[in-house]
Symmetry: C2
Subunit: 199 residues, 2 copies
């Protein structure tokens, strides 16, 4: 399969590349590095990426930044960062990707743990993740030509243990391999409309 | 209790008014009718509403419009209507409302069935609903001064049976009373961070 991985050098996206490369032709896409460069918050840049790459069998995205902070001190603009930085980039990858997706292909987006197991300051992240989980459930029933769509929703990665120390008390840490397997299930498996939880 | 109901004359908001009035002081807010008029998509208008009304014990919102259509024919702009028309208005009511919310008060937003039981053309709605469900889960753990937050997520209302005929095949239709009870549980009860499903 020819597979686009957006956010390929990120902590999460890297697990998808590790798990899928070898068996597949992976096109790494990133903001500042990778086989193709793209600004995920710019729809024109998404279109240019697809035009450059052409037809594919799968698109995996693992991107997104979100504002963290107490909800009672949060502005609407801060909340919206999760929409413009995590939700819309991944939704637009899907909406713009149909013309380039082969029959029977798949889209895989990445959400996260904060909507099912909340942490302090995580309300904007929880909203973005809930939107992505809801989107794949809603979109799956519309998909043409046997195309599938799923979300991978990982717990905190072992690789992020130090960076997130103290923010996720009592949360499990999952291995790169476990997260990579979720992307394999989404891309190589048969599910659609699912939130594939890694915890 | 002094309770603001935003979207008070809508099909869903009306059930909250019916269920809570009598026992409480209800301030009906709507775009073109009600005790106070407000444009829910304009943050300045939300602030003006709170300034006019002053301190309250509960805010209930039942508003939102969303684009319906097949995901593979949807533009990013159409998808965003669910964010700007359903998610952000209700989030902004919360973010702007802390200064006017009495200790131990509550916020109640309204999501819907489409993220847990998808329908054709409902991907943008499912995303908006998932975002709202995620937001209340995430926000509840941050809430200061004993303030609570919940979402009411109703199935199709009996009152909307004709309007939505054919769009929700096999879905249950719920009574105004059942939906009103969910708002009572959210406002008068003790739960927080919950999605109160009516089906």
């Amino acid at each position: 399969m020819k597979i686009i991985v957006v956010g390929a050098t990120g902590t999460v996206g890297k697990t998808a590349v590790e798990a899928l490369s070898g068996r597949h032709d992976i096109i790494r896409v990133g903001r500042s590095s990778g086989d193709v460069k793209m600004n995920i918050e710019d729809t024109a840049s998404i279109r240019a990426m697809y035009q450059q790459i052409g037809k594919v069998d799968a698109v995996v995205s693992a991107v997104g930044h979100v504002h963290f902070g107490p909800v009672h001190e949060m502005t609407g603009e801060q909340f919206m960062q999760g929409i413009t930085g995590k939700l819309m980039p991944q939704v637009n990858l899907v909406l713009e990707g149909f013309a380039y997706m082969n029959d029977g292909g798949s889209f895989t987006v990445t959400s996260g743990v904060t909507n099912r197991d909340p942490i302090r300051g995580g309300s904007a992240a929880a909203a973005a993740n809930g939107a992505l989980d809801g989107f794949v459930a809603g979109a799956a029933v519309d998909m043409p030509r046997g195309i599938r769509i799923n979300a991978v929703s990982p717990e905190v990665l072992e690789a992020s243990r130090e960076a997130f120390d103290g923010y996720f008390p009592g949360h499990h840490h999952v291995s790169n391999e476990a997260v990579g397997l979720a992307y394999c299930k989404a891309v190589e498996g048969c599910l659609s409309g699912q939130v594939i939880i890694v915890e």
